[in-house]
Symmetry: C2
Subunit: 100 residues, 2 copies
Amino acid sequence: MEALTVLADPTRRAIVEQLIEGPEDAGTIAARFPVSRPAISRHLRVLREAGLVRSETAAQRRVYHVELEPLRELDDWLAQYRSFWADRLDRLDAHLAEEN
Amino acid sequence: MEALTVLADPTRRAIVEQLIEGPEDAGTIAARFPVSRPAISRHLRVLREAGLVRSETAAQRRVYHVELEPLRELDDWLAQYRSFWADRLDRLDAHLAEEN
DNA sequence: TCTGTATGTAACACAGCAGTTACATACAAT
DNA sequence: ATTGTATGTAACTGCTGTGTTACATACAGA
């Protein structure tokens, strides 16, 4: 459940959300945020250590990709509560709709 | 997405998990943890303010219940990633199995 | 080889959070 | 009324985490 603590930070959440759109190098990621580049560098390290991103080296650039396995674990944790929600069938419908 | 930050704390996570089993008063909840009762009292306040629990007054006792709506919002947030996971059909199967 | 570019790390500052003890409040029961 | 029980709040402490600036490293290209 480390993903929970790591994603509690809004900047890291935003980084992950952005990387879903596609891989980006560290500089491009940092440019999107109002904080310093070293701060982003450390966020990326935290995300890396939690297995939420992976980096590939290309010359000086480090290109980051998302790695969704930890989110899946978080989802599995949530699953234990899902059965308590009222309109289960509605959610299943939504789930099915999402598949298209 | 406040649920994420609130549940990042393992004690609060444990409180929520316990309350799933059924409502409990503040004292009983506190007794389960190795920290002081006032510490638990503040955790309960944080959970209350995030809408994750609700309390009902019964004489001096405050009985706490879980309130799962925020977890559902978290689940909705996760849903945007779910479609990226490889074995979608497997998960749908698991979801269906869970309904029984 | 030297210069510029891309990135991570070190050292430090500051804020916020979770913990503690002491105290206040409120109700029940004798 | 007084005492005991249940709970929350106040004030304070210490740690962790996020931010900053300055520096190190590494590669590309002129």
